[in-house]
C-alpha cells in the first residue's frame, strides 16, 4: 500500500504551545512558553491501527539464530578447524547471493534481516564435514539464488532453500556423502552398531560422525518458550517417526536421535515461507513429512530420506493452506 498523502488547503494552525514537564508523576508546568511553530505538513493519513507491535522480521530471525547458537558453540568446540571455514563460506555465499539476487530482480535490499544467515546455518548443519568451499558455493547458488531469490525472495518460495541446496549437492556431488564424518550425520543407515544400542550417547556425547543432539533440544525449548514456533510441526513430525519406526520394529529413540531428524523438526520444517500457516495444516504437513521420511529410510534406504520427506511435505503447503481453513464459509 502506498503512503497516502492529503491535500487540504486550510493549513492547520496551532494557537497555543505550552511546555509541560512531566517528571515522575509530578505535573509541573514549565514556565517557558514556546514560540508558535507553524508546520506546513498536514497530518498523516493512514488507516487504523496506528500503533504497531515491536514484532519485526529481524527480531523473529534473531530468535532463531539465538536458538541455534548452542549448536554453533558445540560445533566450534568439537571441530573448530573443520567447521570454521565452512561457516565462513556458507554465510558469505548466502549474503552474496541474496544481494546479487536483490539487485538483479530489483527488490529492496533486506539482507540484514538475518533470514539468509538462518538458511546458511541450517544448510551447514546438514552437510558432511568434507564438503569443500566450492561445494558450498555451488549448493547455495542453487538453494539461495535459484530457490529463493529468483522466486521473489522471503515469503514467496514454497520449498526450503537449504534443503534444495542439499539436494543439489547430493545429485551433483554424491562423492561428498560416501564417507560419514559429518557435523550432523544425515546418512541414517550407516550408523555404527554400538551407538544404536545406547541412545544416550547420541544425545549427550555425539560420535565421531555426528554432533551431540542436546544443543538442538536446548534451542528448541527456547523457541517454544518464545512462541517462535508452534508445537504442532515438530511434535507431530517426531511422533509420526517414532510411532512408525516402532511399528516397523526399530528403536524409536535411536531413530529420532540419529541423523538430523531433530534439527529438521525444529529448524527446517518450521521455516515460515515453506510451511503452512495454521496449526491444523501444520500438523498434517508434519505428518506427511514424518511418514515419508521414515518410509524412505526403511525401504529406499537412501541417505536423502530427510530431503525427500521435507520436500514432499512442502509440495503440499499451498494445498493445505487453501483447503484446511480454520473456519469455512457457512
Amino acid at each position: 500500500m502506498e503512503k497516502k498523502t492529503i491535500t487540504n488547503k486550510t493549513k492547520p494552525e496551532v494557537t497555543r504551545f505550552l511546555g509541560r514537564e512531566k517528571t515522575e508523576g509530578n505535573r509541573k508546568i514549565a514556565q517557558k512558553v514556546f514560540k508558535i511553530v507553524k508546520k506546513e505538513e498536514p497530518f498523516l493519513v493512514t488507516q487504523a491501527p496506528f500503533v504497531r507491535s515491536v514484532n519485526t522480521v529481524s527480531r523473529k530471525m534473531g530468535v532463531f539464530i539465538l536458538a541455534l547458537s548452542p549448536l554453533l558453540g558445540v560445533a566450534f568446540f568439537e571441530r573448530g578447524s573443520l567447521f570454521l571455514p565452512q561457516l565462513g563460506h556458507a554465510v558469505l555465499a548466502a549474503f552474496v547471493f541474496e544481494i546479487v539476487g536483490s539487485i538483479i530482480f530489483k527488490r529492496p535490499l533486506r539482507f540484514w534481516n538475518g533470514n539468509v544467515i538462518l538458511l546458511a546455518l541450517a544448510f551447514l548443519f546438514l552437510i558432511p564435514q568434507q564438503v569443500t568451499w566450492w561445494g558450498i558455493w555451488f549448493a547455495l547458488f542453487f538453494g539461495i539464488f535459484l530457490g529463493r531469490e529468483s522466486l521473489g525472495g522471503l515469503g514467496k518460495y514454497r520449498l526450503h532453500p537449504s534443503i534444495l541446496a542439499l539436494l543439489s549437492l547430493t545429485i551433483f556431488f554424491p562423492e561428498f556423502f560416501l564417507r560419514f564424518s559429518t557435523p550432523m550425520n544425515l546418512m541414517y543407515p550407516a550408523i555404527p552398531q554400538e551407538l544404536s544400542i545406547n541412545p544416550s550417547v547420541l544425545f549427550f556425547k555425539g560420535s565421531e560422525y555426528a554432533l551431540p543432539q542436546w544443543p538442538i533440544c536446548v534451542g528448541a525449548l527456547y523457541l517454544l518458550a518464545k512462541k517462535a514456533i508452534r508445537w504442532q510441526t515438530p511434535f507431530v513430525y517426531l511422533a509420526s517417526i517414532a510411532v512408525l519406526s516402532f511399528v516397523l520394529g526399530k528403536n524409536p529413540l535411536v531413530e529420532i536421535l540419529s541423523g538430523s531428524i531433530l534439527l529438521v523438526a525444529f529448524f527446517v520444517l518450521t521455516e515460515w515461507s515453506s510451511s503452512p500457516l495454521t496449526g491444523k495444516a501444520q500438523a498434517l504437513y508434519a505428518l506427511i513429512a514424518g511418514v515419508i521420511t521414515e518410509v524412505s529410510r526403511t525401504w529406499v534406504g537412501s541417505p536423502e530420506a530427510v530431503i525427500l520427506g521435507v520436500l514432499a511435505a512442502q509440495m503440499f503447503t499451498p494445498v493445505l493452506d487453501r483447503y484446511i481453513r480454520i473456519r469455512s464459509r457457512a
Binding site: 500500500m1 503512503k3 492529503i6 487540504n8 486550510t10 492547520p12 494552525e13 496551532v14 494557537t15 497555543r16 504551545f17 505550552l18 511546555g19 509541560r20 505535573r27 508546568i29 514556546f34 511553530v37 508546520k39 498536514p42 497530518f43 498523516l44 493519513v45 493512514t46 488507516q47 487504523a48 491501527p49 496506528f50 500503533v51 504497531r52 507491535s53 514484532n55 519485526t56 522480521v57 527480531r59 523473529k60 533486506r110 521473489g152 525472495g153 522471503l154 515469503g155 514467496k156 508452534r230 515460515w272 515461507s273 510451511s275 500457516l277 495454521t278 493452506d321 487453501r322 481453513r325 480454520i326 473456519r327 469455512s328 464459509r329 457457512a330
Partner: protein, 435 residues
C-alpha cells in the same frame, strides 16, 4: 477467545478524574449526518435566531433523525463543511450570542409523577424527538427500540466491556455518573419491553464493575445483573459476550437479535437518562482528549459541532504539533486531516499523537509467519485473505470468510512485515459487496 494484550493508556486521560465543562463555544458547525441513515432537511435559514436545544433539521422519513442546535445564536451558514467521516458534508453553522439560552421546555427536570405515566411508546417517541442515536455506532435509537419490540427482543445488554486504547469516555461516565447510567438503562429496558437486563464488563475492568455493582446494591435495583466476560483485546466481541450472558455457546455468525438480544452502549444509556429525566436533546457528549501532544489530557463535555481546535484549547492547547490526528482509538480510529472538524454524536475520543508513538511503517511482503492467525478474535485466516486480495483474487479470498472480520486491527498490530491488513480486508469486503 483469541486476542492480544494491549496497553490501554487509560491513565493518561484519567489523571484528572473529571469531565471538564468548557465555556460556551463562540461558534459551532453541526453536520446533519451524525447517525447511520439519511440526513434530515434543514428547517432554519441563514440569519435565523436559534436557541439551545431547538430543532434545526427534521424530516419524517424513516432513516432520518432530527438535529438540534447546541448553542443559542444566529445561523451563519447552511452548506458544505468538513465532516469527520465523510470528508465534506452538509452542515449548519451557528454563531453564539453569548447567552447560551435553552429553548422553552428543554432542560427541565421531570418529577417522579411525570415519569411514572410514561409508556413505552412515549419513551420511543422521546428518543426520536431528542435526536438519540447510539453514541458509538450511530444506530438510531428509536428505530432499534421499535425493531426490538417487533422481533420480540427480550434481553438488553449494556456493553461496558468496550475498552479501547486511550478512550476513557465510557469509563469516566461510570466513575462519575453511575446512577444516571443505571436509571437510563432502566428507561431503555422499559422502552424496549425487555424482561431481562445485563451489564457486561471485561474482567480487566474490575474497578468500574465494582462501582456499578455497589450502586446496584445501594439503589436496590434487582432486575439488572452484572456479567463478567473473559478474553483479551478486543474485549467486546458480540458472540463472546452473548455466550457469557446466555450461558451457552453462541456461534460467531449469530446476530444479537437472532437470540433475542440487543446491545446498548454506556453513553447511549446516559443520553437516554438525560433525555427522559431532563428533557435534554443530545447536544453534548463526553469526548476523551488524549495523546502525548495534548497539555492536559482529560475528558470534556463537548458540544456537538465544536471544532477539534476549540476542544484542544479546553485541554490547555497542544504541546507540540501532532503527527497524526485521530478520531477514536489508536486501534480502530479514523485519521483526521483538519483541526476545524466538528465533534459529532459518535465522536468518543480525539487523539493527538506524536511521531514517536505512531510512526509510519513501510510494509514488506508477507513472510507467512502466521502470527496474525492466533490473535484474530473471530478465528479467520487474515494472511490468506490478504494474499489473495493482493493478487486481486476476490472470489478466492471470500472462501476465508472476510465478512466475519470485526476490523479490530489485531492482525495488523502484530504483523512483523507491517502489512496494512485491515485495509486489504476492508477492500475485500467492499469488492464482495460489489459483486
Amino acid at each position: 477467545m483469541a486476542g492480544i494484550e494491549i496497553a490501554l493508556h487509560h491513565d493518561v486521560s484519567l489523571l484528572d478524574p473529571v469531565i471538564k465543562t468548557p465555556d460556551t463555544p463562540s461558534a459551532v458547525v453541526i453536520p446533519l449526518l451524525q447517525h447511520r441513515g439519511i440526513i434530515a432537511k434543514p428547517i432554519v435559514s441563514v440569519g435565523d435566531r436559534v436557541f439551545k436545544g431547538q430543532v434545526i433539521a427534521d424530516s419524517n422519513e424513516p432513516g432520518a433523525l432530527p438535529v438540534h442546535a447546541s448553542i443559542s445564536g444566529r445561523v451563519s451558514s447552511v452548506g458544505p463543511a468538513v465532516h469527520p467521516k465523510e470528508g465534506i458534508h452538509v452542515s449548519i453553522a451557528i454563531t453564539s450570542d453569548g447567552q447560551d439560552q435553552w429553548k422553552q421546555g428543554c432542560h427541565v427536570e421531570q418529577t417522579q409523577d411525570d415519569l411514572k405515566s410514561l409508556s413505552s411508546e412515549n419513551l420511543i417517541q422521546m428518543s426520536r424527538e431528542f435526536g438519540l442515536c447510539d453514541l458509538r455506532s450511530g444506530e438510531i435509537t428509536h428505530q432499534k427500540l421499535k425493531e426490538g419490540i417487533e422481533s420480540s427482543v427480550d434481553t438488553l445488554i449494556l456493553n461496558a466491556a468496550h475498552m479501547e486504547p486511550f478512550v476513557t469516555s465510557d469509563s469516566i461516565l461510570i466513575k462519575l455518573k453511575a446512577v444516571e447510567i443505571l436509571r437510563g438503562f432502566e428507561w431503555l429496558v422499559r422502552a424496549s419491553g425487555a424482561s431481562k437486563a445485563y451489564i457486561v464488563f471485561s474482567e480487566r475492568d474490575f474497578e468500574n464493575q465494582e462501582i456499578i455493582s455497589s450502586k446496584l446494591f445501594s439503589l436496590k435495583i434487582s432486575n439488572i445483573e452484572i456479567v463478567q466476560s473473559k478474553g483479551q483485546y478486543p474485549y467486546d466481541i458480540e458472540s463472546n459476550l452473548l455466550s457469557e450472558v446466555l450461558k451457552k455457546k453462541v456461534p460467531l455468525k449469530t446476530k444479537p437479535e437472532d437470540v433475542g438480544v440487543h446491545f446498548y452502549s454506556l453513553a447511549t444509556a446516559f443520553a437516554f437518562y438525560e433525555a427522559v429525566q431532563w428533557r435534554k436533546p443530545l447536544i453534548e457528549r463526553v469526548v476523551t482528549v488524549s495523546g502525548v501532544c495534548v497539555v492536559y489530557p482529560q475528558n470534556v463535555w463537548a458540544r456537538i459541532g465544536m471544532s477539534y481546535e476549540s476542544v484542544f484549547e479546553v485541554c490547555g492547547g497542544l504541546l507540540r504539533y501532532p503527527y497524526r490526528l485521530i478520531l477514536g482509538s489508536s486501534m480502530t480510529g479514523t485519521s483526521q486531516t483538519d483541526l476545524q472538524t466538528p465533534v459529532i454524536k459518535n465522536t468518543d475520543a480525539i487523539l493527538a499523537l506524536p511521531k514517536e508513538d505512531t510512526p509510519f511503517h513501510e510494509s514488506e511482503s508477507c513472510i507467512r509467519c502466521g502470527d496474525c492467525i492466533p490473535v484474530c478474535p473471530v478465528s479467520i485466516n487474515p494472511a490468506m485473505i490478504v494474499e489473495d486480495a493482493m493478487n486481486q483474487q476476490w472470489k478466492k479470498a471470500f472462501k476465508f470468510s472476510p465478512d466475519l472480520c470485526v476490523e479490530c486491527g489485531n492482525c495488523t498490530y502484530v504483523c512483523p512485515s507491517k502489512i496494512p491488513m485491515v485495509e486489504w480486508i476492508k477492500e475485500t469486503k467492499n469488492q464482495l459487496e460489489a459483486i
